[in-house]
């Protein structure tokens, strides 16, 4: 049993009002005068009532008792009593609310979304705010938004909570916790409450400086959704379109594919719990075309999430991949020449054309960084901003570790590759210094980083800190795999021959007219205007909802870009019951977070009830007393 607490215990001093109440009661002089025949009987009654104890006077004085009870209850209500809940009583309480796509999943019985359930619980938390407590609401999605400052104003908090909407994006917790950490520098934050349905990454790269109360919301109903949608050019005009459908329960239905609004195929699917199915369509198109895939559920099937039932894919015009490989890099050129669908530059006996828009540039010359291409692979070229971090070395080195998940190094075995004349870090420089310079290390050798990757606005650049001709890489199986990975990666980046569905969050850059303001008409009916940069690219357009975003403005024709959820984590609705942080693991709370329950309203109602009883007691119709009735009959 937990004892009730008081938010404003200082108001107990109001109980001193009992003193004047008693004094006024004793001193009240104005009594109605009633003339009666004789005081004989009443004197006997009063003498009988009065006994030696002075407090006996109060015994039958129900009016005084009722007034004292009302006063005590009102003072009690002013003290703001509450029944303690399980929620912590922190002065500053950040509340993280997951509003990613899976939070829109509905319950088949109640029809409520997870976000609505979370809002109810957070509203309870807000309603139970103490006078000295403040809450900051933070929306968690692919990033994090602080909805309110730390405030104890319930109206502001509830307004922000009501205005919060879900987004068709996968959830990422790092930004939210970093934002909370930043808040903790201004106010003392001891704990954080996280409301989520559990469709979040089970690992978060973050060291917790505070406690996390992970409130996992109840699971939603069954769901099936499209989690992948991409296409690959197989010939000059034929595309293989791949879809992946995943389900959280036994589910059957069909996928319907539309090309420019016309249905061109449909395929049924049947999935068990947690299963996925790959579905392939063949599409023929030489020009750009828009594909739309729709998941049609079977009869009597319940699908709790709608955002993943439709996906869009824009196929570019079919063309070969334009690759520039420096003439001196013969090994690369030979490998590329044997790769189908690749148009290799420079052509024999033709000079280098700097104005051509390439899809991939492979060079060992620093000047070739100026060539226009979405992917650059620079062999033995040190990044300009990392010149101070490295120095030439003549020692032999080997690959020690590499990121096997990065598209460039997938399916590669680099263990037996020996490297000569590699560039190694100067003394005292570690991986962190390269990361501070904007590079991520994807392969590390015995003496330091060997391959760096840098993602800029419109370009993906790889730097090898060794020359492939000064290593045994060109003689290993890994080399053609590396070239194939580069081609594959370039196809994706340039959307040539290999196209993947655009995920929600931020739309990819769109080439338009420089300096022109464009209006974006998205599925959420918002109409933001975005200014194209000096390169004519429209960047940074947020796409929180899945759907087609139509871009209009300037003299250019209307363009559109579709954004899709395409998240296995969000569609399968497989919750994680614990989150693994860098140094600790946080499990979901066993109990629903019970906030402090204020009871002042009940106390006030009780006081009002006593007032009604008092009124009734003194205004009630007189009932016949059995004794009196008998006496009356005797008259």
């Amino acid at each position: 049993m937990s004892w009730p607490g008081f938010f404003a215990i200082a108001n107990v001093w109001w109980l001193l009002l009992l003193v004047p109440l008693l004094v006024f009661y004793f001193l009240k002089l104005k009594r109605p005068r009633v003339e009666i025949s004789s005081l004989v009987l009443w004197q006997a009654v009063v003498n009988d009532q009065r006994v030696n104890s002075p407090f006996q006077k109060f015994r039958r004085n129900i009016l005084l008792w009722l007034q004292m009870a009302v006063l005590i209850l009102l003072v009690l209500a002013a003290m703001q009593p509450f029944v303690p809940g399980t929620a912590e009583q922190a002065d500053y309480q950040p509340v993280l609310i997951d509003c990613s796509a899976s939070m829109a999943a509905t319950d088949p019985v109640t029809g409520k979304t997870r976000l609505e359930l979370a809002k109810v619980q957070v509203a309870d938390l807000i309603d139970s705010l103490g006078p000295d407590q403040q809450i900051s609401l933070i929306a968690v999605h692919s990033s994090a938004d602080r909805l309110t400052e730390f405030t104890g104003n319930r109206r502001i908090l509830l307004d922000a909570l009501t205005a919060m909407s879900m987004r068709d994006v996968p959830s990422q917790l790092e930004d939210a916790f970093r934002l909370t950490q930043a808040l903790a520098k201004t106010v003392p934050v001891e704990s954080v409450v996280l409301f989520s349905d559990g469709n979040i990454p089970d690992k978060v790269r973050f060291s917790l400086p505070f406690r996390v109360n992970y409130q996992q919301l109840p699971a939603a109903g069954p769901n099936a959704g499209i989690t992948a949608f991409n296409a690959r050019l197989t010939s000059s005009q034929d595309w293989d379109v791949f879809l992946r459908v995943e389900s959280s329960a036994d589910f059957s239905g069909q996928i319907v594919l539309l090309q420019d609004g016309q249905q061109i195929g449909e395929q049924p699917f049947s999935l068990g719990i947690g299963e996925s199915q790959r579905i392939v369509f063949r599409v023929t198109s030489e020009i750009s075309t828009a594909l739309e895939a729709r998941l049609i559920r079977g009869n009597a099937q319940f699908d709790s999430l709608a955002a993943d039932n439709v996906a869009w894919l824009d196929l570019p015009p079919a063309r070969p991949l334009r690759v520039y490989a420096a003439p001196q890099l013969n090994s690369f050129r030979r490998a590329l020449a044997a790769t189908p669908g690749v148009d290799l530059f420079p052509k024999p006996k033709q000079p280098k054309q700097r104005s051509v828009n390439y899809d991939l540039v492979i060079s060992d010359k620093s000047v070739d960084q100026d060539l226009i291409a979405p992917v650059h692979f620079l062999v033995g070229v040190t990044p300009d901003d990392a010149e101070s971090l490295v120095e030439p070395s003549s020692a032999l080195t080997k690959f020690l570790d590499w990121d096997r998940t990065t598209p460039l190094l997938r399916h590669m075995q680099l263990r037996d590759v020996e490297i000569a004349d590699a560039i190694q870090p100067v003394a005292g420089v570690d991986v962190g210094d390269f990361e501070e310079a904007g590079h991520s290390v994807v392969a590390t050798g015995t003496s330091g980083p060997l391959i760096l990757r840098r993602r800029s606005a419109s370009r993906l650049t790889f730097h090898t800190l060794f020359h492939t001709s000064r290593s045994t890489l060109e003689f290993r199986v890994a080399f053609p795999v590396l070239v194939a990975n580069l081609v594959q990666l370039s196809r994706q980046e340039a959307a040539v021959g290999d196209v993947a569905g655009v995920q929600t969050g931020v739309l990819p850059a769109v080439d338009l007219s420089a300096g022109v303001e464009y209006e974006i008409d998205g599925p959420d009916n918002s109409l933001p205007t975005v200014l194209a940069d000096e390169n004519g690219q429209l960047r940074g357009v947020t796409a929180n909802r899945a759907g087609r975003y139509r871009i209009s403005g300037g003299d250019s024709e209307r363009r559109s870009v579709a954004a899709n959820l395409l998240s296995s984590m969000e569609s399968t609705l497989t919750p994680v019951s614990s989150i693994e942080f860098d140094e600790q693991t946080v499990a979901s709370a066993d109990d629903v977070l019970a906030s402090d329950r204020p009871v002042w309203s009940m106390v006030t109602l009780l006081a009002f009830g006593i007032l009604l009883v008092e009124w009734w007691f003194f205004q009630r119709p007189r009932t016949q007393n059995p004794v009196r009735t008998a006496a009356s009959k005797s008259v």
Binding site: I36, S38, L39, V45, N61, V635
Partner: protein, 301 residues
């Protein structure tokens, strides 16, 4: 009936119709305490009435006019024929005319009852004395020794002229009456008995004086069922004294207990002296009191 209604009103105290019914009633004492004077109450043998009572042996000196000659002829022995003896009964009506009787028509009802009882007694050839006590400092208003039908007018005039007021207690009224009254009979005490004194002494005096006690307590409806709530200041209309009562409604049960206890005590005091006691409400009509309550309780016949 038509004649009764046509006659002028004899007294404002009682309507002619009520008076006609009252005239047919008689008081019904328990003990029949009588005076030697001739009356209508049979008290034994040896009287000169025509009602046969008993026989007894003739002894020398008896009036031979009372010898039953038929018996003598049959038995050859003289027997004396005895007739019943009837004496007079003195009815004393003591009326409490203090200020406490003013409220709720208690005094009005007491005067009506006194007139009714007096009428019954006078038409029953009883002797009637009336005493009305007002102030302890003054002598009671009296009307003594009335008898005969013609005295009803005197009784009515006396009662019509008695005005209430003063602070006399019933003890003082009884004492005042016994100072001037002589003769046995019955004493009808009409009062609210809301007095601080001990009425047992007065009852003893009445009993010792050969008066059978008929005590009639008159209480107003508000005294039987007080309608008081909250905190009030009660004022005694007789003495002017005040009494503060808090949460009066809560005390009503206690008040009622005391009222019933007082009635029980008064009733026991009367019964111990072979008397009668009755509490009546001044809210009841005099007809209801006389022809229903008192008739049913055997006060009158």
């Amino acid at each position: 009936m038509t004649d009764v209604q046509a006659r002028p009103q004899l007294t404002p105290l009682l309507s002619n119709e009520t008076l006609a019914r009252v005239e047919r009633l008689r008081l019904r004492p328990n003990r029949r305490l009588t005076n030697r004077a001739r009356g209508e109450h049979s008290v034994g043998t040896g009287g000169a009435t025509i009602d046969f009572a008993d026989y007894r042996d003739y002894v020398a000196g008896d009036d031979i006019r009372y010898v039953d000659w038929n018996i003598f002829a049959r038995l050859q022995r003289p027997y004396l024929k005895l007739y019943s003896h009837e004496e007079e009964l003195h009815v004393v009506v003591i009326l409490d005319a203090s200020s406490s009787m003013v409220s709720e028509e208690k005094f009005e009802r007491a005067r009506q009852l006194a007139a009714a009882f007096s009428t019954m007694a006078l038409l029953g050839t009883e002797r009637v004395s009336l005493f009305a006590a007002t102030s302890t400092d003054e002598r009671s208003a009296t009307l003594q020794g009335c008898s005969g039908r013609s005295a009803t007018r005197l009784v009515f005039e006396f009662l019509e002229n008695v005005s209430p007021g003063g602070n006399s207690t019933i003890d003082a009224a009884v004492a005042s009456a016994l100072r001037v009254h002589r003769g046995k009979g019955m004493a009808i005490v009409l009062s609210d008995f809301l007095t601080t004194g001990d009425v047992s002494r007065s009852f003893n005096l009445l009993n010792s004086a050969g008066l059978e006690i008929f005590a009639l307590q008159l209480l107003g409806p508000d005294e039987i069922e007080p309608d008081l709530t909250g905190d009030v200041r009660l004022v005694d209309c007789e003495t002017g004294r005040t009494l503060d009562v808090s949460s009066a409604r809560d005390l009503l049960d206690l008040y009622h207990e005391h009222r019933l206890a007082q009635q029980a005590w008064l009733s026991s005091q009367c019964r111990r002296r072979n008397g009668r006691f009755e509490m009546i409400s001044s809210g009841s009509t005099v007809e209801s009191i006389l022809f229903e309550t008192l008739l049913r309780r055997g006060w009158v016949r």
